[in-house]
């Protein structure tokens, strides 16, 4: 296990390095002072001012040197400042990440738990009413774009509130503005806000996860050792829980890691639909404003989290399945 873990850790290092390179270079050639430049150059003595501005932002140096400086600052925990509002990128991220984390964690946990349950049940009861119903809904939600489902649930939530006469579902923001409540009140408010966006992501994720789990379970149920277990008279319930389920649960671990990047994309879209002030809005704003430092910091944070999540799922897989340690 130690050799396996070391190997996986060592592989992550170049991937992380690649992630920093991509995060930096993808937007490095964007001019963060495009607007100011146009204005300044129309003014007398503007050229010197542009040069001063460039020097203060380090734009006068060659690209590779800037990357080196950025990487050095990064190791000291500094990702630069936003050219839009002068705030440190790290503090912008520190505000946005917990908001988005709530959504990502809720979506992951519930879609995996329900996905496994639905997938296993529909595999065990293949071609029954239950299986056919879940297959139908899986196909339906699998074909749905996240942004459409999000907007539909938002619309339905508002209609429900109107009909009920009270606001049950919150459809805008991650929590009520200027909320003055104690710890429990704050979390109750947050849960009211997270319900619909989380449901959006869960339904979409669940469609794929349950199908994946279903076929994993079917593969196991058709294997020889299950037939052996049945032949020696192990009761059906025990065959499912003791023999089949344990091995059928393995693929979902790496699957969760592999789809994490897709989930991030879905979260960005969902946050935009429900007007959350999280990572999605931060990213969108930074792109539209040409706020290079923020975009780079954002890509880096997401890149690192994706690599780490995949490292964790790889290690977990190695822990659960001894076979992969020796390939």
């Amino acid at each position: 296990m130690l050799a396996y873990a070391t190997r996986k850790l060592l592989i992550s290092v170049p991937v992380l390095f690649l992630a920093t390179l991509v995060a930096f270079l993808l937007v490095a050639t964007v001019d963060p002072i495009a607007e100011q430049r146009v204005f300044l150059l129309s003014q007398p003595g503007g050229a010197e001012q542009v040069a001063r501005l460039e020097a203060s932002l380090g734009l006068d140096k060659p690209l590779l040197e800037r990357y080196g400086i950025w990487l050095g600052e990064l190791l000291r925990g500094d990702l630069g400042t936003s050219t839009e509002n002068g705030r440190a990128v790290t503090s912008l991220l520190a505000e946005a990440i917990p908001v988005t984390m709530r959504l990502v964690v809720a979506a992951t946990v519930f879609s995996v738990v329900f996905g496994v349950a639905v997938g296993v049940l529909s595999a065990v009861r293949k071609y029954t009413l239950f299986d056919n119903t879940t297959t139908f809904f899986a196909f339906l939600f699998f074909a749905m774009p996240v942004f459409w489902l999000g907007a539909v649930l938002k619309d339905l939530g508002i209609r429900f509130n109107d009909w009920w006469g009270r606001r049950i579902f919150f459809t805008i923001g991650e929590q009520s503005p200027r909320l003055d409540a104690d710890f429990w009140g704050t979390w109750a408010d947050r849960i009211g806000h997270i319900f619909l966006p989380a449901l959006t992501l869960i339904l979409i994720q669940l469609a794929a996860t349950s199908r994946f789990q279903r076929s994993a379970m079917l593969d196991v149920l058709e294997s020889d050792y299950i037939r052996t277990a049945r032949a020696k008279g192990v009761p059906q319930r025990k065959v499912i829980t003791r023999h089949a389920l344990r091995n059928a649960l393995l693929p979902i671990v790496s699957y969760t890691g592999l789809t994490f990047g897709t989930l991030i994309g879905g979260t960005v879209v969902t946050e935009v639909v429900f007007n959350w002030q999280g990572m999605g809005q931060l990213f969108l704003d930074s792109l539209l404003d040409g706020d290079v430092a923020v975009t780079q910091g954002w890509l880096l944070a997401v890149g690192v989290s994706v690599v780490l999540v995949n490292l964790c799922t790889d290690l977990l897989y190695g822990l659960l399945d001894p076979r992969v340690r020796y390939d």
Partner: protein, 299 residues
Amino acid sequence: MTDLGSDISAHQVVVRAQWRTVLRRFGSHRLAVTALLLAIIGYAFTYFVEPLTGWNYKQLSADLSQGPSSAHWFGTDTIGHDMFAQSMRGLRVSIHVSIVVAAIATLLGTVLGAVQGWFRGRVDAGVGVLVDFLLILPLLPVLMVLATRTRAIGGSSLMFVAVVIGLFLWAPLARVVRGEVFAIREKEYIEAAAALGASNTRIIFRHLIPNVMSSVIVYATLTVATAILVETALAFLGFGIQPPEVSLGALVDEGRDSARTRWWLFYLPGAVLISLVLCVNFVGDGLRDALDPRQRKRP
């Protein structure tokens, strides 16, 4: 003594090529056939919208914000666009984009996967790093950045968006093809080809790739569905295809704020989009059943 030749002709041995078997099995999958027909008819229909309804997607009618009627099947938006013409245009754009994406991704995935599996060693490891990287890459944010970066050089044109998406979607197929090539490279017919002095190129393109076509076809269909969803999500966020060209994603984005008051602007383009993806997925499902002999028939 009976004549062997007449005996055979009496029993009518029917020679069936593999693709005929596949076609027959696909044909027996009613849902998949219906979906394929619907998609083809829908696509052909986009060329007959103007003669049938009298509207094209650019025209502005005097009816503003009208609900669905016999004149405007999907109603009109606030500036008088006929939503049916717009949705059908969006449908055609989505189909074009997704087919280009699937073509690029399938070509890259098949060839690179086969090269990985055949050469193994360093080539495998080198491409493998790229595959691993692309597999976990959060595609949407990266495409959003690329869209803003390339706007100046036509980054929001239809083909450009398609090519860029295609360059990012080949990794899953490459991994599958690599695995299958690993399995068949030890077979006698590959050994025989190599022993007869066939070049690497010949072995890869004439012997390996034709034998992994089942997975390639199924993945190509899946890629079409993914491409549609990615393209519309980009358009929804405002980073994809730009007006006056139409995308179903952009239509849904414009309609979502008025979902309660002018429902047709939001729900109808969305329904077209979902129907398209559903059809593609059903076709993919049917192809998988037809191409994969291990799949058992329903009892």
